[in-house]
Each structure stands twice: as C-alpha cells, then as structure tokens.
C-alpha cells in the first residue's frame, strides 16, 4: 500500500516537473540564433584572455575542491552529527536547529581555507583588495545569516513533518515557495541606503524602461567602494517593490553607453519575470527533493526527528550538485534572454561587446571557460557567448 502511494506520488511529481520545466525553459531568444563563439573571441585581447583564463583555472579547481570537501564533510556528519543530540536540552525541533547549525558551521570551517586561498589568489592578480580578516569576518556574518535562515526552514519542515509525517512535503513545498515569494518581494527592504542615480542616468534609463514595459521600476545606486572595486548590477523585488541596482563601481566608472546596456539588461530580467520564474524553478526542484529526502530519512524517524537532519542536509547538498547543470542552464538562458532584451531596447551591440571586453579585463572573467565546467556550474553565459549574441543580433538587423 505504502509502495503504491509512493509510486503514485513519484509519478505525479515527475509529471509536474516535466510540464513545469518545459514551460519555464522557454525564452524569447530566437531558437535559430547561431552563436559563433570562436569568431567572437577575436573581440578580446589575447593577453587579457590568457590572464583571465589562468586566473579562473585556479578559481575553478578551488571551487571543485571545496565542493568535494563539502560533500565529504557532510557524509561524515551524517554519521557523527546525531551525537550532538547529547548537547541539547531543547525539544525535537530545537535539537534539529542545533544539528542543522552545527552541520553548516562545520562546513564553513572546513571550507574557510579554500576561501582564504581564493582571496590570496585574487589579491595576487589584483582582482580584489578585500583583506583576509575582512573576508573571514564577512564570511562569518554570512554564516550567521545562513544559520538563521536554516532554522526558519527547519522550523517549517520539522513542524509539518511532525504534524503530517510522510505527507509533509506536499504542503511543505507550497509553504516554502510562499516564503521565497515573500522574501523576493521584501528583499528590497533589506538593502538600506540605496541612492538615486545621476540625472543623466535617470534620463538614459527612462526610455529604456518604457520600451521594455517596466516604466514603474526605479534605478538605484549602491555605494560599495568600501569593500570592493568590482562592477556589478542586479534586479530584485516583485510587483511594486521591483527595482534595479547598480554598484557605483559600475555607474561611476563605466562609459555611458555600457551603463545603458547594463541597465537595459537588468530591466530585461524584470520584463520577462525572471524572479517569479526562479521561484517556479525552486518549487520544481523542491518538490522531488523534498520527496527524496522524505523517503531517505524514513529510517531515522523522518524529518520530524532531529536525528534525520544531518542526513537531510547531505542529501540536499548532493541533489543540489546533481541538479546544478539544470539550474545553471536555466539561469544562463534567462541571462541570455535579458541580453537579448537589452539589445532590442538599446539597439547598441557595440556597447554590449565593449562591456564584456571590459568585464574580462577588470574582473578577469574567462570569456571561454571549459565546456564541462560551463555546463555544470556557470550561471551566466560566457563572455564569448555574449559577444557572439551581440554580433548575431547585429547580423539580423543589418
């Protein structure tokens, strides 16, 4: 009976995922667009490309090593983690908090050396001027934030699991998706101190926003000079809280046409509802993941039992790694869609090419990373792909 129920649930989840994934996979980028990345490499200075490739090669291997260590530590934690129950005077959910937080704290500790080597390497290559102590402190505060977030998740999951036992994941995923929607909506309120842009940037942004159907979205500037010189921009919020943010390392120091290109790219994310679609991807991922975790943790009493938390953490991290090609692929498609949207709005492919040449030079971002790594982990199209898209757009609009 139970097997039949689980089988039916598994089929339902699989159907829902395939249907949802197909719907979310579509973008407005023409399917027949041919990207000649080899020709696009001509746009980059060979010496810069070599330097960026050398820089990113080390960073890639550090990342891979840290992921291997992450899985190894959590595998050991599955075995030893439940011993921390002795250190708890709390109830089952509170003890779950303890086991969950200790798990991510140990992972943080083991991964810290990799982060420090990354900083050392980036400083050596002038890609950052973040100090080691600043890095450790920042990372530690990040861990504190993660611990809080994990406790919130555990509170929801464990409470539902204690209430509904094996069926918790159906309402659980809905509640978690709701929570992520709330966070996505409220996230602009969590970044205080954003400033209005210069009148010139406002004047540049207004027609683009109108053209891309997001006329009500404001542009904001974030002062980041204290902790980085790297350029960046992002879009966040939902509904009335939507806005795009440019770091002042970009808005103050990049040429006007390139800033327009970035602004339009970020508007593109909002134009095509990428944040809502990412929540959709989360739900699609969470549904089978929650189901698998539920099945695998049954022997440890299910997710309502704190003994199951180390195993649940391990399974989730492994599933996340396994799903990385899919989630990274979806992310790359949305970035490409935002690029395409920017090209349509600005009609300035030269600016986009110049922008990605600059990114390669200043952020040492490899324009042509190894295919396997790009496929598995990169959330953005490579520099070569983005330049190739700009050139393809120009070829279509000649």
């Amino acid at each position: 009976m139970r097997l039949a129920a689980y089988s039916a649930a598994a089929v339902a989840v699989a159907v829902a995922c395939v249907w949802g994934g197909t719907a979310l996979w579509d973008t407005v980028v023409p399917g027949d667009l041919h990207l000649n990345t080899r020709a696009a490499m001509d746009a980059f200075d060979p010496a810069t490309v070599d330097e960026a490739a050398e820089f990113e090669r080390v960073m890639r291997w550090l990342f891979i090593a840290s992921q291997v260590v992450l899985v190894a530590v959590l595998a050991v934690y599955v075995k030893v983690g439940p011993r921390f129950q002795r250190e708890s005077a709390a109830g089952p959910i509170g003890t779950g908090f303890l086991l969950g937080m200790m798990g991510i704290a140990l992972v943080w500790l083991i991964q810290l050396p990799f982060g420090l080597i990354e900083i050392w390497w980036a400083r050596k290559k002038d890609a950052t001027d973040v100090g080691y102590i600043d890095y450790v402190l920042g990372d530690f505060f990040g861990l504190a934030g993660e611990a809080l977030f994990l406790c919130l998740l555990l509170l929801i999951v464990m409470a539902l699991a204690r209430l509904l036992r094996g069926a918790w994941w159906v309402p659980g995923v809905a509640v978690l998706a709701g929570l992520f929607t709330l966070l996505a909506w409220g996230s602009p309120y969590l970044v205080p101190g954003l400033e209005k842009p210069s009148p010139q940037l406002q004047a540049d942004a207004r027609p683009l926003a109108k053209k891309q159907g997001v006329a009500d979205v404001p542009v904001r500037i974030e002062d980041v000079h204290e902790w980085t010189e790297q350029p960046n921009a992002y879009a966040f919020g939902m509904g009335k809280t939507r806005r795009i943010v440019l770091w002042n390392t970009l808005s103050d120091e990049f040429p006007r046409r390139e800033v327009r290109s970035v602004v339009s790219h970020e508007f593109g994310h909002l134009q095509h509802d990428h944040i809502a679609k990412q929540i959709g991807w989360f739900a699609l991922f969470a549904l089978p993941a929650a189901f698998i975790v539920t099945v695998l943790t049954r022997r440890r009493g299910g997710l309502g039992d704190p003994r199951a938390i180390p195993l649940a953490l391990f399974v989730l991290v492994v599933l996340n790694l396994l799903a990385s090609p899919l989630t990274s692929g979806a992310s790359r498609r949305y970035e490409a869609e935002a690029d395409w949207s920017a090209l349509e709005a600005t009609r300035d492919p030269r600016a986009m090419v110049a922008l990605h040449r600059r990114f390669t030079a200043e952020a040492l971002s490899d324009p042509d990373p190894p295919g396997w790594y790009h496929w598995m982990f990169d959330s953005h199209p490579s520099g070569a792909e983005r330049v190739a898209m700009a050139k393809a757009w120009r070829a279509r609009h000649r």
Partner: protein, 433 residues
C-alpha cells in the same frame, strides 16, 4: 577554604583562623555586622579623602618599585621578605580603604594596613618559592584577572591606590561611572539605603566583599605575593547564606563542555536571540496587562504568572548558555527542569499594591546592579570560552560567577514583571559551602 561566618559575636574569632601556607590563595575575612553610622555614611567620601591621598602616594610608590620586586623575585625565585611585607600591608590597606569607601564596612580604617584591624580583612599567605617562568610573564598572566577585576570593582579595583580617582567610590563620581563596576554600583545605591536605614543591605555588602576579595587576590598575584591565580568563584567569598526567595537557582551542570558547540556558540545563539527578542516584545505587553490586573487584584493571575515565569526561565537558560554558564543548547519555551542551570519559581503570592504601582521605579537599583553584573559575566564568559575550548570543560569559578549573575537576573526580571513581590538578592551566596 574556610572563612569567617557573618557577624561573629566576638571579633576575636578572627584570630582563630588556621594560618595560611605558602602557595595558598589569598583569604578574605568578613565580620561586618551590616550596621552603618549614618553620619559617617553621609560624609563617607570626604572622610575617605585623606585615605585616598595616602593610598595614591603609597600605591604610586609601590608601582614605581615593582620592577625591583620583579627582578629580585626572578633572581631569587621568591619575593624578598621585607619588601613582600610592605606590599602585603599595602594590599591590606587598600582593601580596608575601599571597603570603607564602598560601604562594605563601617569603621574608619587605620593608615597602615595592619592585619586583623578591620571587619573586611585579607590574609596573605607567607612567601615561598615561585616558578620563575610564571614570575617572568606575570604581567601578561595577570591581565585577564585585571580585566575581570575592573568589571567587578571598577577601575582601580580597590587595590591600586594610584588609580583611586577612576573608580569613584563617592556618590558623585559613581553616578558618572555607575556602570564602571558592580561594586561601585552597589556602593552608590547602598549609600542611600544606609542613610535611610542605618544598615547596609546584606546582598550589597556581600557583593562588595566578594569583589574586594577578588581584587586583593589579583593584586597579590600581580605583586608576586602568591603564585596562585585569582579565583573569582563566589563560593570562596565569606558571605551570608542565600536568604529564602521565591526564585531559586537549581544547578545540575557538570562543567563538561562540547568544544564544537563552544567554538560556534555565537552562531548557535542566533535563533535564540531572534526568538528572545520576539518573546520580549510580547512579555513587555503582557507585563503592562499584568501591572494593571495585579494593581486591581493584589495578586498576579496564574496564566500571566506562568507565561512571565516561562519567559524569565527561558531568559536565564539563554543567559547561562550564551555565557558558558551552561553546556547544552537550551530549549525555546523555558520549561522548568529542562536545563542544568534552572530557576525554580514559586506560585503567585499576594503583592502590596503600592509596591506594584511603583514597581518600575523600585526595580531601578536592581536593574543597574544587574547591568553591571552582566558586564562582569560578559568578561567572565570570554575567559570561560577560551578555557572550555582548550580543556573541554568550563572553569568552575567562572561558571559559578556566570550562573550567580543568571540567578540574580532571573530575580530582577521576576520582580520587574510581577512574578514575585520579593526584591532581588544581589549577594553571591548561591554556592556557600
């Protein structure tokens, strides 16, 4: 360690104490009877001025010649006898002066720090051989004890006359630096109590005796009179037993600490602090309701009493865990009997309506004392953190100190939130053996 009980019938009992041996801890004795002469209290600071001047001069001299003491001790392996006696007299004298200034005792002290002449007394063990490495780095070893002493007593710590102006035992400077030390804080409020009642509150006096005893240990260690490290354990203080109180600590902690949960304690505290904040907001609203209802009924309704008791209990569990006074990760609901540092809270009892009406004002002195003691526990927890991380167990003295503050905090907030009409007892007597 043996120590004198409170207010013996004959001060001569002082002379019956077993003599200390080389290497023993500095011993504090207390035969103060709590009685205070109001006139002397009123003019306490002015009366202390000659002492403070003399203490500054003497203390300055002691600090100036301390390098000579250090070098000779380093060469000989023990402090030279004559010089040692002068330092012992100086420490004894400074404790007499600060006990007088901080209202821990009544009589005007003598100027020479003669032994067995004052109700708050310190016995300094005879000289003996000391490890030269320990002597060589004594300044650095003494630093943590100095930090803790400063938080307990205030700057100057009752030992170094050269710094007497900083601690401010007088009401004026104490007002300005009221959070400068727990002993200075109780002295400030004790001054008003003594003027009104002609008697020092026992809890205040005992807190001062414990603090001054610790400062005597610290200075004796720093000035090489003993190689024994200062021990802040309230169990070693010669204080009165804890009087009956509706809020009592029940301690079953075994000192064992898991190094991992010690190392990541700040991270583990995150969800508790968020929860504590949310609960505090609700408790504040509940306390307003409780205030009105208790004012009308003369008794706190049981549901509100239970809710606020659970809040107080949870806060004390959290305090103990945060400061290494307790080992396990605490629960979130303040359930009784679930934590090794637990608070037993009696049933609600009838409350005086006047006391209820002015509870916020009446609780102010206790809140100030608690604030100062929290600072002490904060310093203690830093030491306890390093010690526990290395040894896998909490140092008993610091653990007892931290949990004494947790108990006092529970009594303060129980009083403030109408859980009990009984005033908090500030004396560090939870562990009197």
């Amino acid at each position: 360690m043996d120590h004198l009980s409170i207010a013996p019938e004959k001060p001569a009992q002082l002379f019956e104490r077993a003599p200390l041996r080389p290497g023993d801890q500095v011993r504090t004795l207390n035969y103060d009877d709590l009685h205070r002469w109001r006139v002397s209290v009123g003019f306490r600071f002015f009366m202390a001025i000659p002492h403070l001047i003399w203490l500054s001069i003497w203390g300055g001299g002691m600090f100036l010649i301390s390098p000579i003491l250090w070098i000779v001790t380093l060469v000989k392996g023990e402090p030279p006898e004559g010089l040692r006696d002068v330092y012992a007299m100086f420490i004894r004298y400074s404790i007499h002066v600060y006990a007088f200034l901080y209202l821990a005792a009544n009589p005007f002290p003598g100027f020479l720090g003669r032994p067995r002449t004052y109700p708050i007394e310190v016995d300094i063990p005879p000289g003996g051989k000391q490890n030269r490495w320990g002597v060589g780095v004594r300044l650095f070893l003494a630093l943590p004890a100095f930090f803790l002493m400063t938080s307990i007593v205030g700057f100057g710590g009752g030992g170094g006359g050269g710094n007497s102006s900083g601690s401010g035992g007088d009401p004026v400077t104490t007002t300005l630096s009221i959070s400068g030390g727990a002993v200075a804080t109780v002295a400030f409020f004790g001054w008003f109590a003594c003027l009104a009642r002609g008697r020092m509150p026992q809890g205040f006096r005992d807190l001062a005796v414990w603090g001054l005893g610790y400062s005597a240990q610290t200075y004796a260690y720093f000035f090489l009179l003993t190689s024994r490290y200062p021990n802040s354990d309230p169990a070693l203080a010669p204080v009165a037993p804890l009087p009956p109180h509706p809020i009592r600590m029940r301690m079953t902690d075994e000192l064992r600490r898991n190094r991992w949960t010690v190392g990541f304690r700040i991270i583990l505290l995150m969800p508790h602090y968020i929860w504590f904040f949310l609960w505090s907001v609700v408790a504040l609203l509940a306390s307003i309701v409780t205030w009105l209802v208790t004012l009308i009924l003369g008794r706190t309704p049981r549901p509100l009493h239970n809710f606020l008791s659970a809040y107080v209990r949870y806060a004390s569990h959290l305090f103990a865990f945060a400061n290494l006074g307790g080992g396990p990760f605490p629960g979130f609901v303040g359930a009784p009997g679930t934590y090794p540092v637990d608070m037993e809270i009696d049933e609600p009892e009838r409350q005086n309506r006047w006391s209820v009406l002015f509870r916020g004002i009446l609780a102010l002195p206790a809140l100030f004392v608690y604030s100062a003691l929290s600072g002490v526990a904060g310093f203690a927890s830093i030491g306890a953190w390093f010690y526990s991380l290395v040894k896998g167990r909490a140092p008993e003295g610091l653990r007892n100190l931290i949990d004494y503050v947790a108990r006092y905090g529970a009594q303060v907030f129980s009083y403030l939130l109408f859980v009990t009409p009984r005033y908090p007892y500030s004396g560090p007597a939870d562990y009197v053996k």
